[in-house]
Symmetry: C2
Subunit: 352 residues, 2 copies
Amino acid sequence: MSNCKEIRIVDIAKMAGVSVGTVDRVIHNRGRVSAANYTRVMTVLKEVDYRPNMVARSLASKKVYHIVVIIPAYAPGEYWEYISRGVDRAVEDFRQYHLSVTKLYFDQFNEASFESLLRDIKLDEVDGVLLGTLFYDLVCSFSKELDARKIPYVYVDSDIPGERRMAFIGTDSLVGGQIAARILFRNITKEADILMARIVHTGAESTQAKNRLSGFNAYLTSIDYKGCMYRVDLDLSDDRHNYEILDAIFHEHPNIKAAVIFNSKAYIVGEYLKNRNRKDISLVGYDLIEKNAQLLEEGYIEALIDQRPRMQGYMGVKLLCERLILNGEIGNNNLLPIDILIKENYKFSETY
Amino acid sequence: MSNCKEIRIVDIAKMAGVSVGTVDRVIHNRGRVSAANYTRVMTVLKEVDYRPNMVARSLASKKVYHIVVIIPAYAPGEYWEYISRGVDRAVEDFRQYHLSVTKLYFDQFNEASFESLLRDIKLDEVDGVLLGTLFYDLVCSFSKELDARKIPYVYVDSDIPGERRMAFIGTDSLVGGQIAARILFRNITKEADILMARIVHTGAESTQAKNRLSGFNAYLTSIDYKGCMYRVDLDLSDDRHNYEILDAIFHEHPNIKAAVIFNSKAYIVGEYLKNRNRKDISLVGYDLIEKNAQLLEEGYIEALIDQRPRMQGYMGVKLLCERLILNGEIGNNNLLPIDILIKENYKFSETY
DNA sequence: CTGAAAGCGCTTACAG
DNA sequence: CTGAAAGCGCTTACAG
């Protein structure tokens, strides 16, 4: 595969009739090169399709690349923990390239925390950013700031296609919604009613959840769904309230045969079903967080749709690394596989 | 994360009161070191938990590592092509470490071709082996040979736990079988009959397929299955024959509502169903090869169980690389996730 | 604007 | 058995 004789910087220098210093300056666009020499070197570079020896470069270079990772704070076992772990893994794998990664956390239920975090970042020392895209507007304005400074950034979790992010890494939420529907309708008829649970919180509903709902609805339409969808709003921290609501709705609408929840909190409904000892409701949710895994194992959650959070974190850092260090062109859209996890296969999904 | 001041080989030398050459010799066990110096250096090495700078090492080193990949020859779009691509990808990622990978192909339907291939390998120049474990006995004897020469090897596709492979990379076939059953029984009742198709060939049936059948049967038992399984033997290259057999069995047993095939050839049955215009049979198979993907899209295959072949190839080379170059300790069992692919999500599964 | 030289941390002959 | 020295391909001050 690899040619035995790679072309080196001294070879380029010789061919262009200049010194290695000059070649280095044009390669890195450091200026201080005469126009004549610049084009001369450039020509040779193109001609021989010069590819720098990254190993030598990183050994010689003292430059440290600062990557800032901005994600929500998480409790152990939560979704964002896995993204964070993927980041750590990448840092380990690419430490040879002098990466320094700083993680900054905000409160995912508090937009102001995100805002003040962004305000405090000293962008002068930042070479790249990995960004969890929970708050649409703030992400957009911050992106413009990064654009202005030509700092590359990648989005994880969900995409905002309008922005000039170097890449998005995550799954297609619309399809994620379709798949949830598809799985449910293996177990129920198209006349059955469906419960959709949401979590009330102060901020706007996540783009992610909205898109999933759209996908879900699209599927319903495509199969000419005859039943009803009922929506309930649950509270993350008030189980008594939740149980009352759920008792009421199930009692009122006994034809509800399935439930879906478009974020990682399926366990709230799942635990209710477990306590009420109801295995007749097919529940589908998202993300293999620990509480969900437990209920999947016990059969109260039918399936979880997973977004490979570890890989999101890993690839995010990897792409930034490739961009910063190899100056490579990077595909700007890396849709990850959407995994369907059931009782039998979820245990294997930790790999990588 | 990473200490600014990594300890270098000159630091070790100084601490042990020897030269860098001596330190290098003990690190690499090259001999030519007095016992006194050896222990002295070793002690320091332990004490400071020396971790070599791999970048510097690979820049300085002229050693090329030869890895041999022994897999079946494949037609475009087949399972092993993806394993092969994963290998290529790894070679690209790790080229900086002077990898040279040679791929050797045998005929997966002809044990003798594997045997003669093994006989012709000149192991003197081989540093590591990646091995597709199709032929049980030959793999075992070859493994012993590699053991004797202390050449590390990894298995892909299916495991042979008794052997001393450095690692196995692939999925748990037993669970793979359970999952197939689980998916089918979403669509059929436990009274329905099931068709199991096999492909006749000269060699023994693959371990993989046997294990999947066991897992499948275990699931049947667990749900107290009441129906019948009918087995047919199909021929890869004789469609007329296959159609006759399939026509006959479906006619004779109209209660067959599902079909399963424990290798990547589900498309043979799938195409039959398509030609006969039968969407009432739930078909589940393995591996996202092109022909299967097409039928999944069209709805004649219900689901495919995937083994991440690309990742198998990639991780195989990566682990060998880490073992050879970093001398690292490697976990010897890397069970990969078992992916459930349906019409909606299979398109995203190419990533990585 | 330009080039010669030192240095990154390791390996590799080569004297002794 | 041991150490001093050159070299891997690049970057980084530093004179000019």
